[in-house]
């Protein structure tokens, strides 16, 4: 049977289909080229048909398998060429090339009836046996390349996934940041509003502190105005009497020139007194108005002796009006020649008033303790020290405990029961003296003995 059948064809089919299988699996042809894959799976068909026909016809041709192999391998090479961008495909091509070339050359030699020279024949045969090794080496290389590529691809995919994850996280972060920013912006706006409100409130507090100290003064002011007004009325009355007496005297036949002169002198003196006491009342009213008005901040040459004296009396009578049983010795130790100070008089007056009020409050508290032989005393002293004028306000009251002494200038700090003090008096005073006038305000105290505040103002 072998004599009349082309059994070589069957062998070729086996080789071709093995090769096809190898290419398909190695290069994932079903996925990459589905149509070519179908074509490749029918590659056995021409050989099988040829084998069947030649077997029936008892036709034998030893070149049929070579021809089939050429066509089939051609189809496979074409497939590989289609996939040339895939690196294992190129490697396989490279592996297949010597086998195909060697086969092609030997077929051509056979067909032409040529023979290579003997040394070349040996060499050709050696190459032919090496072809198979080369091919399988290339297959392995392609396999490892494919694995490497798959690994690379997996890595790439992983990286992509990570990148997407990071991108998603970034987006989330950005959203959070935006959210936080919006919240912060809103908070900042709220804080700004709160700050504005605080500023307004602070302004109102300062004004109400002024009004509170003025309220404490009201009775003192009333007393201080009442006194000069009484004098004005009394001197006016008595002057009317003097005038009546003078007229009486003039009507007499014998006039007493000495008496007339005396009456006239008294009249003149009374008019001066009326004017003086009128001025005194007016200055108190003016002081009160200045005190209640928001400060204009205008600096004028100010006599601190006069200012201290005025406010000392106001503070004293203010407290007296509230507590009739209260009494204190007022000591004034004024420098006879004191330089005038460039100052905002109503502001410095407020500071003095505050210090006096505190001093009277302290001696009153100590007096209420019922200590035997205690004489409440408030002293104000002025003097020149170098280029400064110094005003010291000293009381022998309850004193300030050491723990509290550093806090007395802090806003809202007060030792008075709630509702009695705003805690702003000394804080504002400190601001007025230091920030407003470039001076200093300090305190010395010994608990249970005395407190002394010292103002220095440059002139």
């Amino acid at each position: 049977m072998n004599r009349y059948t082309n059994a070589d064809l069957l062998l070729a089919i086996g080789v071709v289909m093995l090769l096809v299988q190898l290419v398909r699996r190695l290069l994932d042809v079903p996925q990459r080229l589905p149509r070519w894959n179908r074509l490749l799976s029918w590659l056995w068909a021409p050989a099988a048909v040829t084998f069947a026909i030649t077997a029936v016809l008892h036709y034998k041709n030893t070149h049929l398998d070579d021809a089939y192999l050429l066509v089939a391998v051609g189809a496979i090479v074409a497939t590989l060429l289609r996939l040339r961008h895939y690196r294992p495909a190129r490697t396989l091509l490279l592996g297949l090339a010597p086998v195909v070339l060697q086969r092609f050359i030997s077929v051509c030699l056979q067909l032409g009836g040529y023979q290579l020279l003997p040394p070349l024949t040996t060499l050709f045969k050696i190459f032919g046996s090496l072809d198979a090794y080369w091919f399988f080496a290339m297959v392995f290389l392609a396999r490892s390349q494919k694995k490497a590529l798959i690994k690379q691809e997996q890595l790439r995919e992983k990286e992509e996934q990570e990148r997407q994850l990071i991108a998603a996280q970034n987006a989330e972060l950005e959203r959070l940041v935006a959210e936080r920013t919006a919240a912060l912006t809103q908070q900042a706006a709220e804080l700004n509003t709160a700050l504005d409100e605080l500023r307004t409130t602070q302004g109102q507090l300062i004004q109400s502190e002024k009004m509170a100290s003025l309220g404490e003064l009201t009775a003192g002011i009333a007393h201080e105005i009442q006194n000069p007004l009484n004098f004005v009325n009394n001197f006016a009355d008595v002057s009317a009497e003097l005038v009546a007496e003078l007229e009486e005297e003039q009507a007499r036949p014998t006039r007493d020139a000495g008496l007339e002169d005396e009456l006239l002198r008294d009249l003149k003196h009374n008019l001066f007194k009326i004017n003086q006491h009128g001025q005194r009342a007016a200055s108190i009213v003016r002081g009160m108005l200045e005190h209640s008005r928001a400060s204009t901040g205008e600096r004028r040459l100010t006599d601190l002796n006069a200012l201290a004296d005025e406010y000392l009396r106001l503070a004293y009578h203010g407290l007296r009006a509230k507590d009739k049983t209260f009494n204190a010795t007022l000591q004034t130790d004024f420098a006879p020649v004191l330089p005038l100070v460039e100052a905002v008089a109503p502001d410095v007056g407020r500071v003095l008033l505050n210090l006096f009020n505190n001093a009277f409050y302290a001696v009153q508290k100590r007096q209420q303790l019922g200590e035997a032989g205690y004489a409440p005393t408030v002293r104000v002293q002025t003097r020149r020290v170098g280029d400064d004028v110094e005003v010291r306000v000293r009381d022998n009251g309850t004193g300030i405990p050491e723990a509290v002494r550093t806090k007395v200038f802090q806003p809202f700090f007060t030792t008075k029961p709630s509702g009695e003090g705003t805690g702003l008096g000394l804080s504002l005073s400190h601001d007025i003296i230091t920030k407003g006038h470039g001076g200093t305000l300090s305190v010395e105290s010994c608990e249970g003995e005395f407190t002394e505040f010292c103002i220095t103002l440059p002139f």
Partner: protein, 127 residues
């Protein structure tokens, strides 16, 4: 009749001297002045039993008129104590009660009605 006026306002002296100038001229009244409670006490210790009447302000720095009143009515030796009239700008009942408890003979409020005061003084001096 010797009268001691105690007030921390120096112009009170001028006022009294003019208001009572006829009485002073005729020698009916003679006025002395003190500008604080302490000064008044010193004056009284030097001129005890001379002063018949004290007219004292209540609100004065240092010793108040009420303290002076207490000293005059309880500490001054020898008796009899002088009459004391209190004069105050605050005509409140507290001060009034306190003054009366301490033995004040009268209680006047500022502004002083000098016509009424004159009548009272005349009544005392002729009594």
């Amino acid at each position: 009749m010797k009268i001691l006026v105690v007030d921390d306002e120096p112009d009170v002296r001028t006022l009294f001297e003019q208001r009572f100038r006829r009485e002073i001229r005729s020698g009916e009244f003679s006025f002395s002045f003190a500008y604080s409670g302490e000064e008044a006490l010193t004056f009284l210790t030097g001129h005890h039993s001379e002063v018949v009447l004290i007219l004292s302000d209540i609100n004065m720095p240092g010793m108040s008129g009420l303290e002076l009143l207490r000293h005059v009515k309880h500490d001054l030796i020898p008796p009899p104590p002088p009459l004391v009239m209190m004069i105050t700008a605050y005509g409140d009942t507290d001060s009034y009660n306190q003054a009366m408890e301490l033995g004040a003979n009268d209680f006047l409020t500022k502004p002083v009605d000098f016509t009424a005061l004159k009548d009272k003084l005349h009544a005392i001096s002729t009594a």
